[in-house]
């Protein structure tokens, strides 16, 4: 699966960023500057994929 970011914007309250298909810190690095320029980070949660090491196929594709 390619790297995707799904952003959910409710009428009121916080914006949620969800990284899909990222391994390790990739997602966080990508959205760090975006988040900083938009406002105040209220919550960050790492999911299972965060700790995965990028596989060889992905490295070749890049």
């Amino acid at each position: 699966m390619g790297e995707k970011i799904v952003v959910t914007i409710p009428p009121k309250g916080d914006i949620t960023f969800e990284g899909k298909g990222f391994k390790g810190k990739g997602c966080l690095d990508t959205v760090k500057d975006v988040m900083k320029s938009l406002g105040r980070v209220t919550e960050q949660r790492k999911t299972g994929d965060y700790h995965k090491v990028p596989d060889v196929k992905q490295k070749i594709a890049q």
Binding site: V7, P10, P11, D14, T16, G19, C27, R40, Q44
Partner: protein
């Protein structure tokens, strides 16, 4: 999925605010320093105007470089129908425009956009380079 992040947005991008106003049928009037409310006019930094609404929204610059919106949302002023109760629709649209603008700077583009339970959702993918 590798990361979930929640952020509380502040208004600091006037281009995104202008785009959000346009999306909802309004206009951000830069440098118009008064906005209409009940039976008076109030000072502001910029003004947002919607056709069909007799009241306007004031955009007030803050010392930290951000902006806040203020308006009289009394029903007869006509703003609620345009921007939602308390301006929620405008704020939501602003967030969309601001996120799109910032993601574009990082090389991402919107590939899908949809609404679910009042939430706007957008899917971004890294834009491919064309040779």
């Amino acid at each position: 999925m590798s990361h979930v992040t929640k952020i509380d947005v502040v208004i600091n991008n006037l281009d995104a605010l202008a785009e959000a106003c346009q999306e909802l049928g309004g206009e951000l009037l830069l440098g118009v320093t008064e906005y209409k409310e009940y039976y008076s006019k109030k000072k502001c930094t910029h003004c947002i105007r919607f056709k069909g609404a007799s009241y306007e929204i004031g955009v007030q610059a803050q010392k930290d470089g951000t902006f806040i919106l203020e308006a009289d949302f009394w029903s007869s002023g006509g703003l609620t129908g345009k921007v939602g109760t308390g301006g929620t629709k405008l704020q939501q649209q602003y967030k969309c425009s601001a996120v799109k603008s910032e993601m574009k700077k990082k090389g991402f583009k919107v590939t899908k956009s949809w609404e679910q339970d009042g939430n706007i959702q957008m899917e971004f993918e890294k834009a491919r380079k064309s040779y």
